[in-house]
Amino acid sequence: MITRLTRPIISGCSNLHKRLCSAAANSSIQHTLRVAEQIEKKRAAALLGGGQARIDAQHKRGKLTARERVNLLLDKGTFREYDMFAEHTCTEFGMEKEKYAGDSVVTGRGEISGRTVFVFSQDFTVFGGSLSSVHARKVCKIMDEAMRVGAPVIGLNDSGGARIQEGVESLAGYADIFQRNVLASGVVPQISMIMGPCAGGAVYSPALTDFTFMVRDSSYLFITGPEVVKAVTNEEVTQEELGGAKTHTTTSGVAHGAFENDVDALMSLRELFNYLPLSNKDASPIRAVDDQWDREVKSLDTVVPLESTAAYNMKDVVTALVDEGDFFEIMPEYAKNLVIGFARMNGRTVGIVGNNPKFAAGCLDINSSVKGARFVRFCTAQEYGGIIRHGAKLLYAFAEATVPKITIITRKAYGGAYDVMSSKHLRGDRNYAWPSAEVAVMGAKGAVQILFRKDKANHAKHEAEYIELFGNPFPAAVRGFVDDIIVPSTTRRRICEDLNLLESKKVKNPKRKHGNIPL
């Protein structure tokens, strides 16, 4: 590049130019060219992060580098990097002797399926991805811009934690990020993908985001590592047991999903992104659709077994109803008695909540209530296209939600669950019952034991009478608590029509600083 520029300048000198090509002019031209060269050198170095050796080490662990991940996540050629030349400012412990362009994080914006997203990808090859004040500043910059223009933020986490040499600057950096996580919550979707270690205070950021995903066998999320656990409590535990993907997706419920490897994780993240609106001011995306909205779903007529105590899988109902059976399930391994996730109905993204009788008889317990509540609130915060669901925190979430709410009672709606699962009384917009629906305070056996305590001999007769009275949708239908008893195979058509109608729904809650949801 330099040679191309110098030849015409030096060799093509006219008299005028000869005067200008004095020593001073020459040296400033040289300077310009030197600077241009320096910029290209720094850019090339930035692309190598912590150097080829460290890149190879990352690959050996089965992990991609920070830049490779961004490359795979975003549509080709859409990444606009910010702060590629930023360097850390630490002068303690001789740190000033080792600087890397971009420091330990790659930040910027790009597109996924043509829609804007802001992303930060921590670079494990630079100081182990540790957080410095500059690293934090880079992340805060893209978060601020995301909030200003209204676009989601995706964080690819792979970091050893705070940069010890930076001391309190590092802690301040974390706090700046946490503050923004909180301010952005409910304004733009925030997704964390844990692709390496994420320990100590760093775990709070993903915990504050809307969704946290992990990569199996190479990512770990814990506040204190196994060494400290062993030192303090003398308990032996592996990294995987303490904070691996399996623990967090099945036991703690901290992670919403796990993927086999980096490639699988990033490809799946793109799929999830396509369901989400860009911000709380944007409508839920409606995408071109191939699946006919009025398709009859014959398999729904037989999905609920004739035997009222036999289990069936609510997921069968969901996949039969939604466009092309595409259902992005959130937390599939945790609190399996409640199914949540995203899907499309006639191209429109919807959030789905359903009790799954296959597990613990589909009853609502603590874990499933929390699982459901958080999801419902995400959907509402984003002013979602609609929440469909077929069954303390969850009740609050549904009652508060002002987005379109459509409910189908597929079978049992007993006791509190009837109320909680977005009943008409909680401002459900459309409530339907299938012929197999049973709406009652409790099941026959329990009820009869209480009502006819003194008449044990006739319990069987009373149970039969109870079932006759309450084991059907009429008590609810007769009072208008459900809008209609529908044929299951027509459910898809009904939902698509209703979503269309409810697009213009406007409902507001009374003005207040914030409600006091039971935490």
């Binding site: 690959h59 089965g62 992990k63 991609l64 490779e68 490359n71 795979l72 080709k76 399926s113 043509g114 829609r115 804007t116 066998d217 086999e260 490897n261 980096d262 490639v263 699988d264 490809m267 799946s268 793109r270 799929e271 396509n274 860009l278 944007d282 409508a283 995306p285 409606i286 995408r287 071109a288 659709v289 191939d290 699946d291 006919q292 014959k298 398999s299 729904l300 007529d301 037989t302 999905v303 899988n313 069968d316 996949t319 039969a320 466009d323 092309e324 595409d326 191209g347």
Partner: protein
């Protein structure tokens, strides 16, 4: 001790007879039943097809005491018929391990010359209590080739989701030659990538996103470059191909290049349809999209499912860094291969067993499954007893 005549390369031929109580008897031509497992069945539908005689009705008449109302010279031999017994079995596991489940998607083939005898419809459940038969698929044609072509077509159009089935095996049997040729590989990659490209293009078409309209590029004008990986056997080197997909003048036409070789794909690529009939390099191809996931599409070709990885071209280097997950050592546990009932438990805790020794016998779908020790060792735990019903993949016996 029994001594029998040894018959080399035998054929199993059946002749259908019909007789009444009045001394009249007929034969209704023969059936070739050699390609059968377990030699259980008398296959009357194909005889009905080539003779036009309702055999069941005749049997009922005869049982009632009527005389046969057909004479031997009135029994025709019209064309050719084939019957495929479609089973809820996994042809890749032990040559037919039964599979249970709910048929959440089920569409039978229909048309001229196709007859589907089944008691199944969409939403039906294949359970452990019965034989895993889904349907007796019969095709009829004026000659052998026509009947065979119709059978191939019918199998390709048969949609069964919810249980594994033996259509890949049936389809393979009626196929003329094995298809590991490169041309066929290109065909599969061609249309699989075309469908995947359509899915990616469609993902960019929103009807209500109004932002950044001025920099929006029509996804149907862009060419898509992929790295494609075909499924391989364990131990085989992975094959990767560079594939480019470019939409033509209309969105139903694509030019796909596989490692530089052109494959033209056109037709209705509606991703919601159960079966798709496309034209690949001017030849008709029937396929079904079995699954579409992130970075992957599974399509049926000639009955066999192909799980194909399709990744953006940037991933070409990234794939080689992904580690293979270590295979778990399954030799110390006996897992139930499918749901069923425990018929026999031959060991107790503390017993020494040798590799290959039968430990448990399970029964399901009128079949017994013998489960053997994966290695020599001592029995650590026996988690079931005779009469228990278990799910798929339950640990039945553990060895130390």
């Amino acid at each position: 001790m029994l001594v029998e005549k040894f018959i080399d390369n035998p054929r199993h031929i059946e002749v259908q007879v019909l007789a009444d109580k009045h001394g009249n008897a007929l034969y209704l031509n023969e059936r070739e039943c050699s390609i059968q497992r377990r030699n259980q069945k008398v296959e009357h539908p194909i005889t009905e097809c080539i003779t036009g005689i309702d055999i069941v009705q005749q049997m009922i008449r005869v049982a009632h005491g009527h005389k046969l109302n057909i004479s031997q010279d009135q029994v025709p031999l019209n064309g050719w018929a084939f019957e495929s017994r479609v089973y809820a079995e996994d042809p890749y596991k032990g040559f037919g391990l039964p599979s249970v489940g709910r048929l959440h998607r089920y569409v039978e083939p229909h048309g001229n010359g196709i007859r589907c005898d089944s008691g199944i419809r969409e939403g039906s459940e294949i359970s452990i209590y019965y034989d895993p038969l889904i349907c007796k698929l019969v095709t009829h044609g004026k000659d052998r080739n026509t009947a065979l072509d119709t059978m191939r077509d019918a199998l390709d159009h048969y949609v069964i989701r919810g249980v594994t089935n033996n259509i890949p095996l049936l389809r393979d049997i009626v196929e003329e030659k094995r298809f590991l040729e490169r041309k066929e590989q290109d065909t599969v990659i061609g249309f699989a990538v075309a469908l995947h490209a359509r899915k990616i293009a469609r993902a960019k078409i929103f009807t209500n996103q109004t932002r950044q309209r001025s920099t929006h590029i029509d996804p149907y004008t862009v060419s898509y470059r992929f790295i494609v990986e075909l499924p391989t056997e364990e131990g085989e080197a992975k094959q990767r191909h560079e594939v480019v997909a470019q939409f033509g003048a209309i969105e139903n036409e694509l030019k796909v290049t596989v490692d530089g070789r052109t494959v033209d794909v056109s037709g209705n690529m509606n991703l919601a349809q159960s079966t798709l009939t496309l034209e690949v390099n001017k030849k008709p191809v029937t396929t079904q999209i079995v699954a579409k996931r992130a970075g992957e599409i599974t399509v049926l070709y000639k009955g066999t499912p192909f799980k194909i990885k399709v990744l953006p071209e940037q991933a070409v280097e990234y794939l080689q860094h992904m580690k293979e997950k270590p295979k778990m050592d399954m030799s110390s546990v006996i897992l139930s291969p499918m749901p069923g009932a425990i018929k026999n438990v031959n060991v107790k805790v503390g017993d020494m067993v040798s590799e290959g020794q039968e430990l448990v016998v399970m029964e399901a779908m009128k079949m017994q499954n013998s489960l053997h020790a994966g290695k020599t060792g001592k029995v650590k735990a026996v988690n079931v007893k005779v009469g228990d019903t278990v799910d798929d993949s339950v640990v039945l016996v553990e060895l130390e």
